[in-house]
Structure formats: structure tokens, C-alpha cells
Amino acid sequence: MTRLPRTLHPLAWWLWAAGIATAASQTSQPVLLLLLIAAAAYVVAARRAVTPWSASYATFLRIAVVVLVVRVLLYVLLGDAGGSHVLFRLPRVPLPAGWGVRIGGPLTAEGLITAIEDGLRLGTVLVCIGAANAVASPARLLKALPGALYEVGVAVSVAVSFAPQAVVAIGRARRARRLRGRSEHGLRALRGMAVPVLEDALERSVDLAAAMDARGFGRRGTVPALHRRAATSLTVLGLLAICAGTYGLLAAGSPAVLGVPLMLAGAAIAVAGFAIGNRASGRSRYRPDVWRVAEWAVAATGVVVAAAYVIAAHRDPTSLDAMSQPLRVPDAPWPLVVATMVAALPAWLAPPAPRPSSRTRSVAMPARTPAGVTS
């Protein structure tokens, strides 16, 4: 059977990525972490979408590497992880004992490996976010929000678009200073530039608000206000309960009632809110993302991976722990290796991403001239 290229529902992709991130947060085993990264990377390579957002994957990879390097450097400078295998000693900066920090001193193999593992774990979570950006744009995810949360979604997407616009405005302000023969650096320049940049942002937001109003944003239709407010409050309440439940589930030592039961209750309230809200909004959706078998399958892989790691962590916390103290060769428990393989399955489960026709693609991202300079 040939599968037509289509965009998978963004929620399915984000569930998949969240599953891998959850798994990564449960372990500091470098072998497992590297396997998780490899699985995510494989899926991205196979199903990457051609959107402006997908370019951010590389940025996330770079940030992950930076995080790893910074974590190791911090250990080298400050760390005191204990351990007996001293690699070398740095000259120690004398500090009063009461400070609880030290600079310099012995470096142990155990400490170094712990630092690498920590950095790698954080890096893996970042790679997962990057992977989600690469296969499904966050803008589409916001579009998939239920009707009751529509206004929140618009607010978020407008807020997100502020950053690139501010970059352009700063570029223009710097250019203007140069054209007037002023310095672009220093505190005075900063003050001189802040005003035009803020003015620009304010003007843009007023323009945008007028344009949105003129195009029917916030039309109320015939739904009574009470109905609308009920929908919004139920939705928000439900989502808060889900958040609290998630915290209860992931944080060790919290009462059991805060976990799964709270999450389920929250989900029920939120669904009720969505149902009322969708009837109340009076809006419709252009080419909504559909949820079919492939979406179920991709979302399931995320759940399976996360569940495998969470269960393993509950059963035998040491099996997922660092291999550094005492120092030993990392072992890879086979059930988890298999579970990690599941994370790579979306490379086949998801339909291929649509490709713009070659003519459009060649000009899809023309290079912009430096900020604010248009030709």
C-alpha cells in the first residue's frame, strides 16, 4: 500500500518527543541516553518537515553540546564529586571553609563521568525538543488547541512572533545610529536604541490588533456569555489539575493521590470544557489536522518508551543509575534497549512529510539580508 505524504498531527509528534524526554530524565546511563538520541535523530532524518521551524533542530543540537561542555567545565572548576580515581590535580584557590564551594583541587574519574552523564541527560531532553520542532511546527500545535483555548493560543503565537520582529527592529535602530554617525556600542547607545525598538514593537502590535479585529477576531456570535465562561474555566481548571498530577507522578516522595487520580480527574474536567467550548466558539478550522491510525501509533511509541523507563526506575532504581560510583563498565539492560528501539519506529509508522514542489523549494528560504536591510 502506498502512503500519501501528509503532515502527521503535531500532537502525536509532541507526545512522541515528550515520551523520549521523559525516558531520558529517568536515567543517567550514557549508553541508553545515546541510544535515545540516535532513535530521535533517525526519525528526524526520515520524517523532517520543510518549515522555517525545522531549521531550529540544528540550533537545539548545538545548545545540547554547549550544555554538556558547560556542565563538564563547571565540574572541573568547582566540582567535588568524591571518588578515589584521581586523574590530576588543579591548583586550589583558597576560600573560607564556610562557603561550601571550592575552586580547583583534585579531579576524579568518577566526578568527571558523573558530570558527563548529567550533561548528556539534559542534552538529550533538549535534543527531544529540537526533534519535535523539526518534525512538527509548534505553530501547528497551537492551531490544534481546542476552541476553548483558542484565544490563549493566539496570544502565545503573537508573543512568540515578537522575538524575530524585535531582532529586525534592533537592526534598524543600530543602522540608524550609524547613519547619524553615533556609536552603536555602550550604555548611551543602548538607551538611544531602546526607545525606537519599543515604539516599533508597540506600533506593530497596535497594527496587528487592528488587522485582527477587522478580520473578525473575537466575534462572539450568538452564544451566551455564561456558556463561554463555563467552558473556559472548566478547561483551565482541568489543565491545572493535569499539571499538578504530572508533577505528583514524576516527583519522588509526593502522596500517591497527587499522581494518576488527579491527572485523570483533570483530563475529565478539561475534556468537558473542550466539549462545551467547541460548541460555543462559533469558529471553524481550515484543514484541521486529522487523527488517524498513524497518529495513534506514533503517540503510542512515546508512551511505551516513557512507561518502560518509569517502570524500570521504580522497580530497580540502580539499574538506571550512573555507572560512576563505584566505577564500572556501563551495562545496558536489554528490556530498555528494546524499548528505546520503539522510539525509532515512527520513522516507518508516520507517513512521509509532504515536500514542496522543487520550484517552490528552491526559493523556500531565500537568504534575508542582514536584519533590517532590505534590497
Binding site: 547613519l179 526607545v195 497594527d207 478580520r215 473578525g216 477576531f217 456570535g221 471553524s284 514542496p356 534575508r368
Partner: protein, 534 residues
């Protein structure tokens, strides 16, 4: 369809009404053109139609505006969105989503149109406006003409009965403007849409209009009538009309085509005369480029450009959007170091100099002159410029008084008209007496009167020995002011020569007078007037 009933609008920060006692009826299926100088209240009139005035802008509106029977006093813009489609001056700042298709669908989503209908309308609109090739592209990567068409399409899909457009072609090169106007006339003819359009460049639109509304400004009463009636007496008029009024053609031609049929006798009268050739009192070389190459991430902006500009010369740089015009100016101003080649401005490479040293040699007025002004009053701005230039205090103000005597020096730069802001920015930069002056799209948003003043200013500067280089889409301005024209395409200078030769060589860049009198080499109404008088 649209009915203004004794409408007056007063904004909250002034006491004088912008519009006073306006009575106006626009019939269904009309293309109504609103003309007037900057700040006369054109935009206010347009914004009244969908209720942005007063619901969004504040101020008081007395009288009433009825659109398809709905009173804007009781209906907010969002409740009028299904009848009135409004496209503001800057399409980019009104975009809500990030790709073409989503933007086209946005308004329909707000109206709750059912998905199959939405899909069909999006496909139809993509075809109608020629956007099918770019349907999945991010909006930021489109050309200005494409963005303008998306902005029009995004309100078209809502199937409004009225389309309101504020200066839809001001940022576009001549071919792109033609494209947008052709799409609009199709909408009027095929769908019976009512279109209200405000525009400064009458030469582009007046021949398509069914009715013209002249807003004289200052609260004076509107002049409404057929294009011929209004143009016969209007102070704002395109060159074809001014020529016809001067020569006395009747009926008044509005298009080049009509004028050509009437112009036979004028061509004969002018046959053995020639427009005065520009005195070639050129000074030393002010700037020169040799094989200059600039690329941005693999896209070529300038591909080996050679250019010499001498003092006393006024060089117009033309070419379609994205041809490299702004890059050329940026290179000359030292904002953009070239990848290869030699840039020489008064003996030095400007990109290597510190900012204060550059501005003594070259001044660049950017597309938006307001960028250069950041103080609260014009007077403070001028005082700053004196200090920067090391000139005795009052120098810049005196300069401003010669360029634009009517500017209120205590006003905030934002409250000035486009033309006045341009004059302030020019004075501030000219305080250092740079020999080379660069202007990027100086006529954007300028009305005819402001353009005439700009023309006079540029002539004066050239006579004083400044070299002037300006990038523009405005062929009429080029005909009036430039001594030489350089046409860029794909980063190459495809033609470079005296204005008369270059602009008459291709119809896309020819001014109206040249088209009417072709093959005779006349470019401006002023030249013809002088020849007939002399």
C-alpha cells in the same frame, strides 16, 4: 452600499475635525478612488467604513456610516468583517499567521465558514490572485507584490461585499503594481465587488476608477464625481491629466492610450524642438565602485557593479523589488562591506571607517526616515545634529527652514507628515555637509506636492555640488529629477545612461509624458510647458 450621513470625525488630541459633515454614497459594484494629499483624512475616511474609526482609533464620530444597512456605531469592526474587507497600508504588520494558505483562511475561520467551503475558496483565491505557486511559503519570504496580493486575498476569501484598500501599490515596483491593480479590476468586473481605494500615485489607478472622491483636508467638504470631472480641477493629478489640462484637450484623457490619440497635433508642434539638455557642469568624482560583489548566504545581491558618480550629478537607481538597489546604497554608505571589489567614496573605503567619519563623507536617508529621528521634538533633534556635526547651534534649524519652511519645530517627529519627516532627516544629515547624498525610496508615501518640494530640494543640492544617488520605483520622479539612470537586474547594472535615453528605452520604466509623446524625447509636463511657452 456605503452611506456616509453627515459624518464628522475629531481625534481626541485635537479640536479640529479631520472630516467635517461628509455626505457620500458609494453604489454597489463601484471602484471608488479616494485622493488627497498626505494627512488630509483619506485613511480616516477609509477606516470609518469598517468601524476602525472610532472603535479602534478613538476620537468622536458624529453622524452615521451605514454599510450594507449596518450602522458602524452599533457594529464593531469584527462584526462587520463579513461585509467589509480592509487592507491597511503595511500588509506585513497585519499578517496573523505565518504561511500563505493559513493567512488566506484566517478570516474565514473567525466567521465559522464550514471546512469544505473554506478549502474551495482558498483554492479559488490562490488562482484568482496568482498565488498558487507560493501557497505553502512563509509570508516573510514573499516579495512585496506577493505580500500585497496575499493581504488582498486574505480578505477576499471572506467574500466581503466591500473591499477597502489603503495605498495598495505604494511599496511596489511598476510591474508588481500593475499585477495588483489588474487583480482588483478583475474582482470588480467578475464579482461585482465594491472597492474603495486610497492612492497617491494616481497615474497608476485613475483610469480604472468609476468615481473619484477628493479629500481636500482641513475639514473642507469633499469633491465627488466622475474621474474626468474631479481631475479637471483637482490639485492632485497625474502627469497625463496635467499635460492635458495645459494643452486643453477635451474630453480630458485619463489614460496614456486616450492621451496618445489626442496628442497627434502636439507631437507635430514639438517635432522640431528638443527638450533642453541638462547642463553638464559636473565636478570631481564623488564615489566609484569597481567590480563590487555582495552576496547574502549564497544569494547574489550585487554581481560585479561598476559605477562612477560625479559631483552635481543626480543618479536614479531603478529595478524591480529585490534587484539590489538598497544593497548598492548600503555599500556606498559603508553599511555593507563588499565581498569583492573596490568601493571608493572621496578616496576611502567607507566600510572601514568609524561611523562619525563616514557621515562626513556620505549621508544615507533610509526607506523610513523616521528611523533616524529619536528625540521628542524637531528642535531637539536639530540641536543634537549641530553638536554631532560640531557646527554652530542653529545650523540645522536654518537648513531645515530652507528645505521645509512650514515644519513646526516644537512638534514630535512622529506627528509630522511623511514629507516633513523626510525634510527633517535630510537636514539632520546635511548638517555635516557630506558631498554624497543617498536616498532610499524617498517618495514612498509622498503626495504630489511633497514630491515637487523634494524635486526642488534635490535640484538645489545638485547645483551646490552634491552628488545624489537615489533608489526608486517612481518613474515620474526619475523623469523630473535624475540626470542619469542605472537599471539593476539580478545584481547587475543592465543599463546606465542619461535619463532620457534609458527611460524611453523600455515601457515599464517610461514616464507618462514620454509614453504619450513617443517617439519624441519629452519626459515631463514641465519640459513641454517650457517648450510651448518659448
Amino acid at each position: 452600499m456605503i452611506r456616509f450621513d453627515h459624518v464628522s470625525v475629531t481625534y481626541s488630541d485635537t479640536t479640529r475635525p479631520v472630516l467635517r459633515d461628509v455626505d457620500l454614497d458609494v453604489e454597489a459594484g463601484e471602484l471608488c478612488l479616494v485622493v488627497g494629499s498626505t494627512g488630509s483624512g483619506k485613511s480616516t475616511l477609509l477606516k470609518c467604513i469598517n468601524g476602525l474609526v472610532p472603535h479602534f482609533t478613538g476620537g468622536t464620530l458624529s453622524g452615521r456610516v451605514l454599510v450594507d444597512g449596518r450602522d458602524t456605531r452599533e457594529h464593531r469592526p469584527r462584526e462587520l468583517a463579513d461585509i467589509v474587507g480592509y487592507v491597511g497600508q503595511d500588509p506585513l504588520s497585519g499578517f496573523v499567521s505565518d504561511t500563505v494558505e493559513d493567512e488566506l483562511a484566517y478570516g474565514m475561520e473567525s466567521l465559522g465558514v464550514d471546512p469544505p467551503t473554506m478549502r474551495r475558496r482558498v483554492e479559488e483565491t490562490l488562482d484568482l490572485l496568482g498565488l498558487a505557486d507560493v501557497r505553502s511559503r512563509p509570508l516573510l519570504t514573499l516579495s512585496a507584490g506577493q505580500q500585497q496580493r496575499v493581504a488582498i486575498g486574505s480578505v477576499m476569501t471572506m467574500h466581503p461585499k466591500v473591499l477597502v484598500l489603503d495605498e495598495p501599490t505604494s511599496a511596489l515596483d511598476p510591474p508588481a503594481a500593475e499585477e495588483v491593480l489588474a487583480a482588483l479590476t478583475r474582482l470588480v468586473h467578475d464579482l461585482g465587488l465594491t472597492v474603495v481605494i486610497a492612492e497617491h500615485r494616481l497615474e497608476r489607478v485613475v483610469q480604472y476608477a468609476d468615481r473619484v472622491v477628493h479629500v481636500p483636508g482641513g475639514g473642507a467638504s469633499l469633491v465627488v464625481g466622475s474621474p474626468r470631472e474631479v481631475m479637471a480641477a483637482s490639485p492632485v493629478a497625474p502627469p497625463v491629466v496635467r499635460l492635458a489640462r495645459r494643452v486643453g484637450w477635451s474630453p480630458l484623457p485619463l489614460s496614456v492610450r486616450d492621451a496618445r490619440t489626442a496628442a497627434g497635433s502636439l507631437r507635430d508642434r514639438l517635432r522640431d524642438r528638443r527638450p533642453p539638455s541638462v547642463p553638464a557642469a559636473l565636478g570631481e568624482t564623488a564615489a566609484s565602485l569597481r567590480r563590487v560583489i555582495v552576496t547574502f548566504d549564497g544569494v547574489t545581491a550585487l554581481a560585479g557593479v561598476d559605477l562612477d558618480v560625479r559631483r552635481g550629478e543626480v543618479v536614479a537607481v531603478m529595478g524591480r523589488n529585490g534587484a539590489g538597489k538598497s544593497t548598492l546604497l548600503n555599500v556606498l554608505a559603508g553599511l555593507q562591506p563588499p565581498d569583492a571589489g573596490v568601493v571608493d567614496v572621496a578616496g576611502v573605503a567607507p566600510a572601514r571607517l568609524a561611523a562619525p567619519d563616514v557621515v562626513r563623507r556620505v549621508a544615507l536617508v533610509p526607506q523610513n526616515p523616521a528611523d533616524l529621528l529619536w528625540r521628542e521634538t524637531v528642535a531637539a533633534e536639530c540641536a543634537d545634529a549641530d553638536i554631532d556635526a560640531g557646527a554652530p547651534s542653529g545650523t540645522t534649524l536654518a537648513l531645515l527652514a530652507t528645505l521645509a519652511p512650514q515644519v513646526d519645530v516644537d512638534a514630535h517627529p512622529r506627528d509630522l507628515s511623511e514629507g516633513q519627516r523626510l525634510a527633517v532627516a535630510l537636514s539632520v544629515l546635511l548638517a555635516r555637509r557630506p558631498p554624497l547624498l543617498l536616498l532610499d525610496e524617498p517618495t514612498r508615501g509622498l503626495d504630489y506636492a511633497a514630491k515637487e518640494r523634494l524635486t526642488a530640494i534635490v535640484h538645489g543640492l545638485a547645483a551646490e555640488g552634491h552628488a545624489v544617488v537615489f533608489a526608486t520605483h517612481d518613474v515620474e520622479l526619475v523623469a523630473e529629477v535624475a540626470t542619469r539612470v542605472v537599471v539593476l537586474a539580478e545584481g547587475e547594472a543592465v543599463s546606465d545612461g542619461p535619463t532620457a535615453t534609458v527611460v524611453t528605452a523600455s515601457p515599464a520604466f517610461a514616464p507618462q509624458v514620454a509614453k504619450i509623446l513617443a517617439p519624441e524625447p519629452w519626459l515631463t509636463v514641465g519640459q513641454v510647458e517650457a517648450a510651448l511657452a518659448g
